[in-house]
């Protein structure tokens, strides 16, 4: 049994908390959050060790692994503290807000030998896995052009009822970046997964809203290995509402093409089908597939399951610390070489 601590009980922390309760052979034994309200939320769900300071969780509780879902600027100190205490770390993306902090984390990972994985759930979306398999099997031929789109609303809540945005999201130093760091991290990670590496050819970062960071970005990249040209479109400007999701990977190959859209089921049909299957699973006392009825959110469960499977089997996770660092390196290159256009009223 792996004892797990969750550091940060914001939107993502709570999602990981709920998913952890469905992962086999793990137990949430401690949580840490600065908000008393969030700690009571966890207490109500059976966690006794609740700490307002995450250092207390790391030093006082007996956890084997932590899930860190803190504001981006706290990733470096919390990850290093946990790793140095001999705790495996699952870190909500991004790795860090800058390269220097990212390097510090990676150095400590190498030094301590603890398992470390940055959460990139897009790799675990079924339609992405299907397209990846078509690509790996050579069914599409060589890929000349690839499109990666991820347009959402970032901190602007897509909830049914608008919810307040945490203040730290308006502080550029704490967030570290905008759509590029947030959604770009996912899409660049996917590109690296598909094509091993990439060079940044061009980037255009701009603002529709007057934010201290970019809310849209278009990147043109090229893989030095496969010579594939890629266009990565990112945005925080859309108020598209759940269950719609403006996300796709399109590969244009010398033999055929494939798009994740073609392998994404109708959301309502999927909810009905997966929901019914989960009801039957429950009736016959089998394990349910958490959040499979939402399609995309199931990937968050799968990434956690993968991380804890790796701990149990002493294997390396699919997302290596080096790949995570490379993703951050490319993002920082875009920020340095192509400063965003200033917002114009």
């Amino acid at each position: 049994m792996v004892n797990v601590g969750i550091i940060g009980l914001g939107k993502m922390g709570k999602l990981h908390f709920q998913n952890c309760r469905h992962v086999d052979n793990i137990k949430i034994s401690a949580v840490a959050d600065a908000s008393g309200e969030n700690l009571s939320w966890a207490k109500k769900r059976g966690v006794d060790n609740c700490y307002p300071d995450y250092l207390d969780l790391i030093n006082k509780s007996d956890v084997d692994a932590v899930i860190i879902a803190l504001p981006h600027n706290l990733h470096v100190q919390s990850s290093i503290a946990a790793l140095e205490a001999g705790i495996h770390v699952f870190l909500e993306k991004p790795l860090a807000v800058n390269l220097e902090e990212g390097k510090r984390i990676i150095d400590v990972v190498k030094k301590t030998g603890q398992l470390f994985m940055v959460g990139c759930n897009c790799r675990f979306i079924d339609s992405v896995a299907t397209v990846k398999k078509l690509f790996d099997d050579g069914i599409l031929g060589d890929i000349e052009i690839a499109n990666f789109d991820n347009i959402g609303n970032g901190p602007f809540s897509p909830f049914l009822e608008p919810t307040p945005i945490p203040d730290w999201y308006f502080d550029a130093d704490k967030v570290g970046g905008g759509a590029l760091l947030d959604l770009g991290y996912h899409m660049m990670d996917l590109y690296l997964w598909f094509f091993q590496d990439m060079n940044l050819e061009f980037a255009c970062l701009s603002n529709r809203y007057n934010l201290p960071y970019e809310d849209s970005a278009v990147l043109i990249v090229k893989s030095p290995h496969t010579k594939t040209k890629g266009i990565i479109n990112l945005g925080w400007f859309s108020r598209t509402l759940f269950p719609k999701f403006d996300f796709r990977v399109i590969l244009h190959g010398t033999v055929d093409f494939a798009s994740t859209d073609a392998y994404t089921p109708n959301v309502y049909w999927n909810a009905l089908s997966e929901g019914t299957q989960n009801i039957f699973r429950r009736l016959i006392h089998k394990k349910i597939k958490p959040l499979s009825y939402t399609y995309y959110y199931h990937s968050y469960y799968k990434e956690l399951e993968h991380f804890f499977d790796c701990i149990a089997a002493s294997q390396k996770p699919i997302i290596s610390p080096e790949q995570s660092y490379r993703t951050l390196e490319l993002i920082q290159e875009a920020y340095t070489k192509y400063p965003r256009c200033e917002y114009n009223t």
Partner: protein
């Protein structure tokens, strides 16, 4: 703050004692001209003794005007120009909005570019939630509800209301009267939702804008739609009466707060429309059946809640705490 002397409140009536609401089409993106014509059509005239003006915007969360949710800055700009052109050039103008349950005005001013806009137009941005207030008690559903009204909305020499033309989820119309709900000083407006119609109707008897300019450049119904119209009037109820008809409500009295406001005599519903043909606008507005929409959502959410209870599955964070 000096108590406001009411000079311009009240509906401008025609010779036949009918309220006037002016609808002006915005052609070739000439918003300024459309706003000026609409104001002139409404019969509104700015007096010479106006020194302070409060312009109530409609900022909804952090969405920009292309979504149909928030006031277009071009309309605000034109209204400021009108006031400066026809009033005393030294008039102090404040653009006002109050915090809401999920929106902090200081952030929405910044994110939507109003801070730079205000500097350019030499006007002040003001958060009504930071204002001093006077508490009025209204009766709704047998309860006494205290409502804090910001003094700026009571004592400014001229109050201009710039709502959007939209149909949100809670009420069949958001326009002039509902926009003043957003001016209540208390940010936690959700506490008034059980008495929404009573609160909206009553606060319109307390805060009485002299001029209402409806931003119908992008209207919001089932989806946003470029209606390209500006509606102007001097009484909120009269303007809402017309707006309700545009969004497809044949009998505006079916909207709770309009019925209550009419009963309380807060304005006229015998309206003379000047300008655009209202039937044409009704035919192009992307109407939405709000009852069906809400029922569909409720059923889906109840279904998810029931499903998660029996299976132990998770509710995604996007749906909050159901």
């Amino acid at each position: 703050m000096k108590k406001r002397k009411r000079r311009y409140w009240g509906t401008i009536l025609t010779e036949t004692n009918r309220a006037v609401v002016s609808i002006q089409k915005c052609e070739n993106n000439d918003v300024k001209s459309a706003v000026f014509h609409a104001i002139k059509g409404s019969g509104f005239k700015i007096g010479t003794n106006i020194h302070t003006v409060a312009i109530k915007l409609n900022l909804c969360y952090y969405w920009d005007s292309s979504t149909g949710e928030t006031t277009d800055k071009r309309v605000v700009s034109a209204v400021i120009d009108y006031i400066r052109e026809y009033g005393d050039p030294g008039i102090k103008i404040k653009l006002v909005e109050a915090d809401a349950t999920s929106m902090k005005t200081r952030y929405s001013f910044k994110i939507l570019g109003y801070d730079g806009f205000a500097r350019g137009k030499n006007v002040e941005l003001f958060n009504l939630s930071d204002d001093e207030f006077q508490t009025f008690t209204i009766e709704a559903k047998g309860k006494k509800i205290p409502i804090p009204i910001p003094l700026t909305m009571l004592h400014s020499d001229l109050i201009v209301n710039i709502p959007k033309l939209k149909v949100p989820r809670r009420v069949p119309l958001t326009c002039a009267m509902k926009n003043l709900f957003g001016a209540i000083q208390n940010p936690i407006k959700a506490k008034y939702h059980p008495y929404l119609h009573e609160v909206i109707a009553n606060i319109n008897g307390i805060m009485k804008p002299d001029l209402v300019i409806v931003d119908g450049l992008v209207a919001l119904g089932k989806h946003p739609y470029k209606m390209n119209v500006i509606i102007a009037g001097t009484n909120s109820l009269s303007v809402d009466w017309v707006a309700a008809k545009i969004v497809g409500c044949r009998n505006p009295r079916k909207i709770g707060y309009i019925k209550l406001a009419e009963e309380k005599g807060f304005g006229d519903t015998d309206v003379k429309i000047v300008g655009e043909d209202i039937d044409r606008l009704t035919s192009i507005f992307p109407s939405i059946n709000i009852s069906w929409f809400n029922l569909k959502w409720k059923l889906q959410l109840k279904g998810i809640k029931f499903y998660t209870r029996i299976t132990g599955d998770i509710i995604p964070p996007v749906l909050g705490d159901l």
